[in-house]
Amino acid sequence: MAALRRTPPALVAGKYAAIAAYVAFALFPLYWLLKIALTPDTLIFSDGTALWPSELTLDNFRTVIFQSDFMAYFRNSVTVSLSTAAATTLIAAAAGYAFSRFTFRGKRWVVALMLLTQMFPLLMIIAPIYKLVAAIGLLNSLTSLIVVYTAFNIPFATFLMQSFFDGIPRDLEEAAMIDGCTRLQALRVVILPLTLPGLGATLGFVFTAAWSELLFALMLINSNDAMTFPVGLLTFVSKFSVDWGQMMAAGVLALVPSCLFFLFIQRYLVQGLTSGAVKG
């Protein structure tokens, strides 16, 4: 921008200060989480509020990983999140393809229906879901969580996939179909390779959403074996509320998968958040 060259140095300095402030605001809580996790238990009360710990230790991580149930919770969460992400992406890709490539009777109604599911308070259905899941005997099972999370994420994922399909010119598959491909062949040979980034992004968004879901998991799971990470961590916090180091070490572990996926979907954030419209 040409304007930048003529801006007075004070303004430029101000801009960089503002940027630094935003970065500090974004990172500080996470830095603190990591700091307490690395502070030895004996020093918590002397070093607790100091900006930099006088000693570092990995003991908290060691305890959490080897001497607690957190690894089991972690596995449960990975199972739930990955299955949800895979199922949602598959189903949403099919639905998004229908939205993108067909004009059909009732389309407006289907779209309205999907938007409706994004508007009403999800907590409204927590009691009925509990009763339904209890009635079919699936309380305390990861399957029930996977099915519920998949349904919750389908509308948003469908709109996201639709926006990816919309970005691929129709001419490509039409050309393939004129050359004698069936629609499914065209889909596999022409469209699928082009949508791989879109599929990946959807996978990432859904994984992140499923990874952090808490309230339905609290309601549907109460046996220690089937707890997901959020439920396990919250139970731990309410039981051992002064084991600061261990709680925060577990928190850091919870952060790892979401951060990995974040790095991966960062490029698609704009598309994801604007096509979901209401999804945070």
């Binding site: 009360f45 009403f120 509990y130 349904a151 129709r170 928190g251």
Partner: protein, 311 residues
């Protein structure tokens, strides 16, 4: 594609035409059916059941009391002081969070739309809070507010905001600020990202022309940027408000609605009633009330939007 092909084929035999029509009418539903089935069985049917619960007495702790009781739940609701507190809190929670998230998000979007060194890295770092799981956001912030291990009370006391470094989450007068701050931290990236996308769609010639005409940066902002972003801002803010009004995780984890009900919003009241008291009937009645509030809000939103579009 379907329409044009059908119109272009007058010579086609009737049977083939019918088959083609069937294909085009049915095929999309084939792709949609798994999605629609799941949404119906997991969301829409439970929604209908949930609304019916509001008119029943369903408490898992009192299994023999079940049955339809008409409007009794709502009568109880009208006389429930906690409900009215929760309603007021829902307003302040939503209003405070949305306003702060929006203002900070707009600032960030404006900064990110300029050119500076290390922009890619900065962008990744400031968007990171969005990826932090909400339960962890809540726990981290409640730890930051804890005077034993968190710095915030000490800083606040040092600058005179607090008389002494105590935990603001434990004080009914200040407790709501805790979740609001956590929510702001978590939600700024969302606004920054959507507004950034909108900013990038403003044609740059406008700014160049304004600059040639000698407009100041402030004039550019108020005369070009804001009018262009206006509709987008209005829609994002209004939709986001609905989402935040329904967002119970942060408050539930940080304060559980306490102390003394001072941070209870309708969404957390629904959850604690269902989860702790297992009173599904009453919880559903609160949820229906919340839905009603949101619908009134949505109608206002539509009217305002109509006005905005006309201008």
């Amino acid at each position: 594609m379907s329409a044009t092909q059908e119109e272009r084929a007058p010579g086609m035999p009737r049977a083939r035409l019918a088959r083609a029509w069937l294909r085009y009418a049915v095929e999309p539903y084939l792709y949609l059916s798994p999605a629609l089935l799941l949404i119906c069985f997991v969301m829409l049917i439970p929604l209908a059941i949930g609304i019916s619960y509001a008119f029943q007495s369903i408490n898992l702790l009192r299994p023999f009391d079940a049955g339809f009781i008409g409007l009794e739940n709502f009568e109880a609701l009208a006389g429930d002081g906690r409900f009215w507190t929760a309603l007021t809190n829902t307003f302040w929670w939503t209003f405070g969070s949305v306003t702060l998230q929006f203002l900070l998000g707009l600032g960030l979007a404006l900064l990110l739309s300029t050119r500076f060194h290390g922009k890619r890295l900065v962008q990744a770092l400031v968007f990171l809070p969005w990826a932090v799981p909400t339960f962890l956001t809540a726990l981290t912030w409640s730890w930051l507010f804890n005077p034993v291990i968190g710095p915030l009370p000490h800083w606040a006391a040092a600058v005179g905001l607090l008389s002494e470094p105590y935990n603001i989450l434990a004080n009914p007068d200040t407790a709501l600020w805790g979740p609001v701050l956590a929510n702001v931290w978590y939600g700024v990236p969302f606004f920054a990202i959507t507004l950034l996308a909108a900013l990038q769609s403003i044609p740059s010639e406008l700014y160049e022309a304004a600059e040639i005409d000698g407009a100041s940066p402030w004039q550019c902002f108020t005369k070009i940027t804001l009018p262009f972003l206006g509709p987008m801002i209005a829609i994002t803010v209004m939709l986001r408000a609905i989402w935040i009004a329904n967002f119970a995780d942060l408050i539930f984890v940080m304060t559980g609605g306490g102390p003394a009900n001072s941070t209870q919003i309708l969404a957390t009241y629904v959850f604690t009633t269902a989860f702790r008291k297992l009173d599904f009937g009453y919880a559903s009645a609160i949820a229906v009330a919340l839905l009603g509030v949101l619908m009134v809000y949505a109608v206002i939103l539509l009217v305002v939007r109509e006005k905005l579009v006309r201008v």
